[in-house]
Symmetry: C2
Subunit: 135 residues, 2 copies
Amino acid sequence: MALAAEILGDRWTLLILREAFYGVCRYDDMREDLKAPRSTLTDRLNSLVARGVLEKQPYQEAGDRVRQAYVLTEAGRGLALTFLALAQWGEAHVTGGAAPVWVVDRETGAPLQVALVDADGAPVDPARASLRLRG
Amino acid sequence: MALAAEILGDRWTLLILREAFYGVCRYDDMREDLKAPRSTLTDRLNSLVARGVLEKQPYQEAGDRVRQAYVLTEAGRGLALTFLALAQWGEAHVTGGAAPVWVVDRETGAPLQVALVDADGAPVDPARASLRLRG
DNA sequence: CTATCTGAGTTCAAAATTGAGACTCAGATT
DNA sequence: AATCTGAGTCTCAATTTTGAACTCAGATAG
């Protein structure tokens, strides 16, 4: 988990990834949403690309030159569960927060939850979980 | 999620919480494990206490004076899912990492997984999840 | 009673990182 | 030819982080 911590353990990186999950993928849109300094934003985007969490994808808008979009890679999309768990936690435990938010199925609107389950899909109390070395 | 990001979006804070989940709760033990500078460690521990994620608990060892232990609060323990999801991600996507690790039931040893489920406990693809404002 | 040890800090200067804003650059538009 | 725009780079002041040294209080040793 040490390397994972290096990736998530940074304010701007975390916020950039949240933007990415919301579908924002252009430099200037992120900069405006986050009010991040340009140099920091550039730096974090590059790190995320270097670590394979985001990738640059060329795109072209009508009558404009080609530009790069930053989109989540397969690995990056894998962080969805972590973010959802974090959102769920913020919702439940961070008092007096901003907009309360809910995890739902984007198509049916049904409420969803991040949970710990065993091999049969039965829910397990997170307090029972333990990290075990493999092998 | 903005405030949650403020809490997790810091290298040392993240590592301190991981220690706490492993059961490490003494200043000097954390300092040694993490090789964190004293002033930074003190600062982060205080923030975590101020935000109600950790709390100080006095403890006394035989023939020694009373000292403070830093233990997870109820809210802090709520972050377990987030950390497990992150560990699971690191395991799956961070290549060439250190010790590969597995989430298991601490009593039965059965493998566990962090998953997104609907109200009936049926698994749902995280890509279907969306954050919706409540109300 | 004085000296010493230990965990848990505080203080301080040097080094690294961040932030705000100005500047650059390439292609599209007027 | 002049202007606009997205996506940066550059610069430098302000903030944060580091690491090392110092402090403090109570326990223990001599």
